[in-house]
Amino acid sequence: MKRVLLVTLVLGAALTVALPGAFARTEATQATPGITSNTIKIGGTFPYSGPVSSYSPIPEGMKTYFRFINARKGPDGKRGIYGRKIDFKTYDDAYNPANTVQLTNKLVLEDKVFAVVGTLGTEDNLAIRPFLNQRKVPQVLVSTGASYWGTQYKQFPWTSGWQTDYIAEGRMYARWILANAARQKIAIFYQNDDYGKDYLNGIKQGLRSKTNLIVSELSYEVTDTSYASQIARQKATGADTWILVTTAGTPTVRALATAKRLGWKPDQIIINSVAATDGVMAAAVASVGQDFVNGAVSTGYLKNNTNPKYAKDPAIRSYRRIMSKYAPAGGVNIRNSFYYYGVAKAYDFVKLMYKAGKNPTRASLMAATAKMNWVNPYTLAGVKIKTSKTDRFPIDQGKIVRYNNGSWSEISALYKGR
């Protein structure tokens, strides 16, 4: 009985503390939600937990950059953007679109954010797109390479993307393969979902009439524990070019390890850019050896922050400075390119906010997304952040990069994916 009383007291105490917060009435009096004289409140949802939690450095990179902006004096002498500090509220949706919907509702209705920035995941963004467009809340710089954001802007004018999309990237691989006539038998190993299929489509589009060069296209499921079955078949086709469309993490490393184990070393391995991260490559090297992985090719639109060639590059140095000064407590591995991705994206958001004017409104922010035209120092030389009334892909360029001993080097001219 004592135990029952104790538990009741504890529960009661917890309720008394939590309940007032739960029932607090929120006022809706601001003209532009999220904008006050000294703050800009934005929000986004990210998979901090769950199967794709390895992407969680992205929002942390963004937050770190925003902390830097809030501390430094801008071109007008004020800290933040025109004197307004950025407050970036993030929630964990564990990559489940239902969670994304509820948490985004919370951001818009309760936290009253000015805009939803950088939310990660194609399906997650698809889930919230109608709601945000109905409420006229900007959904910008989404962290996914699906092409919807760039192609469906007429239907959904409040949504816009950022990175080079998967289809465009696929086209780049095709173009590079065609330009190197030596290897002409392509095997594609892809994750069986929209992400993988987008790449596949892009590659086929890029090959145009020469899709017969593809001798094998096999997929895997996230629930597969072994790819030996598929990769053995791909080896049997005698393909010399192997394109991996796998997610960052175990699938990529497993695929490489399986190929090595089956005694197959294709002349050219291509790894899609999402998977070609430092952590993945390090694990791959530890498993299959440096020789196996050296020479692998990918695309990039961002400077590779682990390439010694960029050690003295002002952008990389600023990245290192910002990370060491403003990173979250506990230390971060700045080699992880997801932090770098976050920083690069945050840079563009800040630029957008400046373009949105001294008294930004949601409409002025969206107008700015249709008039982007600048260079982001964190991207490769030649890449332009550019949009127009008819082109809503801020980044649609990239270079082919080759991996060697821990870093990626550019080996092609700048390709335009769209």
């Binding site: 009383l5 937990s49 939690s53 964990d92 679109p97 509702n105």
Partner: protein
Amino acid sequence: MRRYLSVAVGPALFVVGAVVVALLPRFMGEFRLLEFTFVAIYVIALLGLNILTGYSGQISLGHGALVGVGAYVAALLSLGRPGLELYQLDPPSWIPLGDGMRPVFTIPIAALVTGVIGFLIGIPALRLGGVSLALATLALAVSFPILMKRFSEVTGGGGGLNLNLPETPFGWDISTRHWLYYEAWVTAGILFLAAWLLVRGRIGRAWRAIRDGEVAATSSGVNPALYKTFAFGVSSAYAGAAGALFAIETAYVNPDTFPVSLSILLLASAVIGGLGSLAGALFGALLFEFLPIYSQEPPIFSFHFAEQAPSVVFGVFLIVIMLLLPGGVAGLFRALAGAVRTGRFRRRSDTSELA
């Protein structure tokens, strides 16, 4: 007099609860209304799970999949063939999809379809004992997202389906958010009453008899097969109704929305709320809705946890609650009520009835 009081407590509480639910929107902002709408949805789902696992004693690790079935049925029906055409989807003609119906009508249909499926699952489930049944239902939970992805000609595959954003039907003059809230809670109320009638009647007694001792129940003349499959059917129908409301409220369905973890967390919430008690569904639903959101932003603490901290805290919380309150929150209230009623606050030596 005491007897009349104790009989009247249940219905009185229900009436009080109904009044509270009806008046709550006055005191809440829009987001809180949305959260409580989801609470209603989870109440319905947990009522179903409670009937299956709590009253008839059949463990289910696949309830989330059945919720998903209801959600997809509702999504497909409310979009109709014209809506699906926008996704370049053309399901086989033998599937009776109309031209898109009002979302509110999809609820009973989704419940019916899911109920039938559940009943059919219940038949082979009779042969399977505890562990095997757990595996079978887990297999259901695992397979559901895979099947939804595979049959993308019907379901929209990985990209999922956006339902039309909800709107108040029949031109009534009430905000959409309020409409959804009342839609969910009225459905929950009706289904709660239905469950209450089932549980306190002959069927409920049969279920409890089967749960507590199948052999004894059989020798008393109860046909376990009939009641157990019926429990599966009813439980699934509830899941289907919850799923339909879920689809309407979220306005999006896709395979990732109904992962294995949904089934597991529903079961955990049902147990923490309290099995074998319908009120337990309410506590479980409150937990299921509010804990994940507010564990990311605890009003008490303000320092930065690691990203994985909420998972660890939640896991430990499950363990601790089970250690302290094996009967769930409802069990706690029952113990309290029992202590009040008998005026005894000392430790009882007899084992109080569990679940």
